[in-house]
Subunit: 344 residues, 2 copies
DNA sequence: TTGTATGCGTTATCAC
DNA sequence: GTGATAACGCATACAA
C-alpha cells in the first residue's frame, strides 16, 4: 500500500476545483451542498482515503469522539482483575463500534500534572466511564459534578449515572434457593469489604431476606473479608474456624474470587463441600465453573453491564440533558453447580 | 474547588502583562527567557492550574505524549485474558509515570473508517504498543513498516522491536529439572497453537532439549491444543486418553491456562497428579498457585515484560534511530509446586 | 530578553 | 449552492 501523501481539505478542494469550506460542509453534513457535488466529494475522499485531522477538528468543534476511562488500581484491582476488565472489554467493543475511542485518564501529561477534570477538559473528551473508582478520590467528585457526562458500573453516587447488577435480587433468589430447594436452615456469609457499595448491598439483602425466609443466621460465621482476592477468602475461613466449631449448613460468599479462597481453605482443612457445608458465590467469574468442585454462584451479566454502560454514555454524550434513569439495575441469574446439593 | 475559567496562553499572558509567545517559551523551555519571568510564569501557571490544550499543541508540534495500543481480541484473548492485561497494566503504569497517555487504536473515528496507520497519523501518536497482534492482520504490517516507533511483547517480526520471555531457556530449565531433580525419563507435551511464535519456540525447545538431556518423548502424547484456554487443555487430554494408554511420567504444557484444563481433565478421569503423572505449566498465572494441586510452572515476569516494553518504546520515541536491540529476551524462573514431586 | 506575526487544518458565519 | 474569511490555541521564526 502506498503511503498516502498528506491531504487536507485544501488539497482535496483543489483536486476537485472546489472551496475548502464546501468540503467541510459535506464532511459534516451541514449547510447546503448540491447532491451532485456531495457525491463527487464523498467519492473522491473515499478513493484517496482522506481522513480529517482530529486535532484541528477538536480545536474548532466540541465533539471529539473520545471517552476517558477511570480505572483505579488498588486493593487487588486493576486491569488484571478479570471481572472489571471483562466489563471494560464489552464497553470498549460497543463504543468502538459506534466510532468512539477510549483513553485512560492520567494525572500527568508530558510534564504537567493535572486533575481528572483538567485532563478531560484538556482532551475535550465527550464523556467519562468510571470502571472502578475509589470513594476517597477527591478528583472523582470534581469530575462527576462537572457537566462532562459520566457513567459508572461501580460507584453509586448522587448525580452519577450507574449501571449495576441487582445485588438485592441476587441475594434474595439465593436465599430462596437455600430455603426451598436446598431445604437448609443455618446460614453464614463471608462479606466483601463493606466500604464497597456492592458488597454492602449484598450484606444488607442477606440480613433482610434471611428474615423473610426464616433462615437462621450463625453470627459467628458472618465475617468481613479484608480484601477482594482469593487470599482474603482463605483467611476469612481460617478466622472462622478459629472462632467457632459451630458451622452453618450453607455459606454465602460475596464474590467468586473470595469464594474460591474459601473453598480452598475448606478443602485444606478437610471439610467437604458440599457434604459438610455448601457454598454459594457471586459473579460467576470464568474460573468458577472450572474449580473443583464447580462453584454454585449468582451470575452477573458482564456483557450487559459493559454494553448498557456504553449505551447510557452515548445517550448522555449526544444529549447531556437526556432524561434517563440515574441507576439501572440489571438482572442476575443463579447458576446451580456442585458446591450446593439439594436433598434427594 | 472552583472550576477554573478557561485559560489560554493569551489570558495568562495578559494576567502577567507578558506576551503570549513568552508563555509558550517557558512552557517549552525553548528560546531565551530570563530566570525571573520564567519563575513568575511557572508560579502563576501552577497557581491557576493552567494546562496547555492538547489539540492546539498537536496542530503545531510533533510530540503528543500519547501512544496507541493494539490489543487484538481473538481466540479467547482480549482484556479478559489475565496474562496480557497484566502486561498491559504494567506497561501502562510505567508510561503514565513518564507522562504518556494510552489510547486504544480503533478502526473507526466518528463515521470515518481508517487503518491503524491512518489512525496513528491522524492522532499523531508518538508510538505504538502491540500487546497482542495477529499475523494475518495486514494493517499491522503497514504500521510496523512505517516510521512510527512500534514495540511489541507478542509478535516477532523483522523490523519490530519486541520484548519476550526466554522461552527456550524456560523449557531447557524445565527439562533439566525433569531429568536431574525429578529423575524422570518419559515425557510428553501439550503444545499451544503453533501459529503463535511463542508456542512454536516452546515446542522447538522441547524437541531440542529432550535430546540434549536424553529424555524419551512419547509421541502419542504430543498434542497441539486447539486454542488458548482451559477448555482446549481439557480436550487435549480427552484426545490423548483416547489415543493411547501409554502415558508419560511427566507432561509439559505450553501455558498455564491450558495446563489448568489438563489438570482438571486428569482429575476427572481419576488420574492422580503428581503420583501417576506429573505436570508442568508455563506463565505462572495468578491462579496457578491456587489450583489443587498447585501448579509447577515456569514464571514469566509480567511486570518486567510490560515495563521493559515501555522503556524500549520511550527510547524509540525520543530517538527513532536509537540503536537498541530488536528483540530482548527476559529471564524466566522455574516455580516448583505440587504437580511435580522429586523422588525421596 | 521580550514581543509580533504567521501558520497548523478545521468549522462556522457570512456574503455572493 | 458555493466561496471567502475569521476564529480555535499554540509554536516558532523573526523583529524589536
Amino acid at each position: 500500500m502506498t503511503v498516502s501523501k498528506k491531504r487536507t481539505i485544501y488539497t482535496i478542494a483543489e483536486e476537485l476545483k472546489l472551496a475548502p469550506g464546501t468540503i467541510s460542509k459535506v464532511l459534516n453534513q451541514t449547510g447546503n451542498v448540491s447532491e451532485a457535488t456531495r457525491e463527487r466529494v464523498l467519492a473522491h475522499i473515499k478513493e484517496v482515503g482522506y481522513v480529517p485531522t482530529t486535532s484541528a477538528r477538536m480545536l474548532k468543534s466540541k465533539k471529539t469522539y473520545s471517552v476517558g476511562i477511570v480505572f483505579t488500581e488498588e486493593t487487588d484491582i486493576g486491569l488484571e482483575h478479570s471481572f472489571f476488565s471483562s466489563i471494560l472489554q464489552h464497553f470498549k467493543s460497543y463504543l468502538e463500534k459506534e466510532g468512539y475511542e477510549l483513553s485512560f485518564i492520567v494525572k500527568k501529561l508530558g510534564k504537567h500534572e493535572l486533575s481528572y477534570y483538567e485532563w478531560c477538559m484538556n482532551k475535550r473528551v465527550d464523556g467519562v466511564y468510571i470502571v472502578v473508582g475509589n470513594y476517597n478520590d477527591k478528583g472523582l467528585y470534581e469530575l462527576i459534578e462537572s457537566d462532562i457526562p459520566c457513567v459508572s458500573t461501580d460507584m453509586l453516587l448522587k448525580g452519577l449515572h450507574t449501571v449495576v447488577s441487582d445485588n438485592e435480587e441476587g441475594i434474595r433468589m439465593t436465599l430462596e434457593y437455600v430455603k426451598k430447594e436446598l431445604k437448609l436452615d443455618r446460614i453464614g456469609m463471608i462479606f466483601g469489604p463493606l466500604w464497597s457499595k456492592a458488597f454492602l448491598e449484598r450484606r444488607d439483602a442477606y440480613v433482610k431476606f434471611s428474615d423473610v425466609y426464616g433462615l437462621t443466621r450463625v453470627k459467628a460465621c458472618e465475617i468481613e473479608a479484608e480484601s477482594f482476592g482469593f487470599t482474603s477468602g482463605y483467611n476469612a475461613i481460617l478466622d472462622m474456624l478459629s472462632k467457632s466449631k459451630d458451622m452453618p449448613e450453607c455459606l454465602l460468599v460475596a464474590s467468586d474470587d473470595i469464594a474460591l479462597g474459601v473453598l480452598k481453605a475448606l478443602k485444606d482443612h478437610g471439610i467437604n463441600v458440599p457434604k459438610e457445608i455448601q457454598v454459594i458465590g457471586f459473579d460467576d467469574i470464568t474460573f468458577a465453573k472450572h474449580f473443583t468442585p464447580p462453584l454454585t454462584t449468582v451470575r452477573q451479566d458482564r456483557m450487559a453491564l459493559g454494553t448498557m454502560a456504553a449505551k447510557q454514555l452515548i445517550t448522555l454524550m449526544e444529549d447531556p440533558d437526556a432524561m434517563i434513569p440515574e441507576v439501572i439495575k440489571l438482572p442476575v441469574t443463579l447458576i446451580r453447580r456442585e458446591t450446593t446439593q439439594p436433598p434427594k
